[in-house]
């Protein structure tokens, strides 16, 4: 298992996940529109999700549009 920080909360996930597999692991469809991912301070483009690994200690942010002014 690898301990990452997902949207601000510590979370243990299987070793060797990619960004795409991580989304599936937490029950989200990677094909859903309107979502972006950052690992650390770097945005991971959607096209890179299948090939970008998530490693121990990574801070992962998964965002979408919310109500705002």
């Amino acid at each position: 298992m690898a301990r990452i920080v997902l949207n601000g909360a510590p979370r243990d996930v299987p070793d060797g996940l990619t960004v795409e597999a991580l989304l599936q692991h937490v029950g989200r469809d990677p094909a859903m529109p309107g979502v972006a991912v950052a690992v650390g301070d770097r945005v991971v483009r959607r096209t890179e999700w299948p090939a970008t690994p998530v490693a121990e200690g990574d801070r992962v942010e998964v965002i979408t549009a919310a109500q705002g002014g």
């Binding site: 998964v62 979408t64 549009a65 919310a66 109500q67 705002g68």
Partner: protein, 276 residues
């Protein structure tokens, strides 16, 4: 623009403007936050006539179901441009990453840049941090963003944002959500007089429809508001009022108002009055 005498009272005159590469008919940019319901938001979007709405960038609810904001906005009868914001960001670094995430998520290079200078006290002003704002604006413009910069009503900061290549400069009328209207119309007028070559939008602090009319009468290109509509007792009715007020204010600005005078000038001529 068309002379007012040529406009039938029943018809909305075509009065498009272009901002950030997008051509709009409506002069209202509407926020999507704090409505009683998503349906109330949609009704207000429709009633206001807006073609551009602001959205925030927030962590996805990993357990969430239900209709998302984006799903709801897709039900709008009119196509909407999304203007994601960097609300809540306190540093240029945070704002830049938020903007980059918004671009990736929403496939748009438009960004409403907010960098707030508050210190977390219980008496927030939500005033922009001009230093971080200018730093972020420069980097985002260089990265290809069309930056709509929320700023104070300081003409110098406004000019520097224009010089940095912002798509729109958006001075506040009053603190966000305060509903006080244009607390310093002199400063807003000065910014318009000094910056003729960049779209100017009054952003934040509007309370009621006449505030929007006043902003448009100063020659502003548009208004951006949220709470004045979403917090009204009847949001869609207020949205409609804002839509009409921006049109009225824009027409009045184009019509060229009379100068103010200290003393009365009779509108009825004295000629032929009995007793003379």
């Amino acid at each position: 623009m068309t002379g007012p005498d040529l406009i039938p009272a029943s018809a909305a005159p075509a009065d498009p403007w272009t901002v950030g590469g997008v051509t709009l008919q409506s002069r209202i940019l509407l926020g999507t936050s704090r409505y009683p319901s998503l349906q109330s938001l949609l009704d207000s979007v429709d009633a206001s006539g807006t073609e551009m709405v602001t959205v925030a960038v927030r962590r996805i609810d990993l357990a969430g179901d239900g209709e998302s904001l984006l799903d709801a906005l897709r039900r709008s009868p009119r196509p909407l441009h999304l203007l994601p914001n960097t609300a809540g960001c306190l540093t240029a670094r945070e704002a830049i990453l938020t903007a980059q995430l918004a671009r990736e998520a929403l496939d748009t290079n438009l960004i409403k840049l907010e960098v707030i200078g508050d210190d977390g006290s219980r008496r927030p002003t939500l005033y922009p941090d001009a230093v971080e704002l200018l730093r972020a604006a420069g980097e985002l413009v260089a990265d290809g963003f069309e930056v709509f910069a929320y700023c104070g009503d300081d003409p110098v900061t406004a000019r520097k944002l224009r010089d940095a290549g912002c798509a729109a400069v958006m001075p506040l009328a009053a603190p966000i959500g305060s509903g006080m209207g244009l607390v310093n119309p002199y400063a807003l007028a000065l910014i318009r007089d000094l910056l003729l070559d960049v779209p100017l939008v009054v952003d934040a602090g509007l309370g009621t429809a006449s505030d929007a009319a006043q902003a448009m009468e100063l020659g502003y290109d548009g208004v951006l508001l949220n709470t004045a509509v979403s917090g009204a007792q009847h949001p869609a009715a207020m949205a409609r009022a804002f839509g009409l007020a921006t049109r009225a204010g824009r027409l009045a600005w184009g019509a060229g108002r009379i100068p103010t005078r200290t003393f009365a000038t009779a509108s009825t001529p004295d000629t032929g009055r009995i007793g003379t």
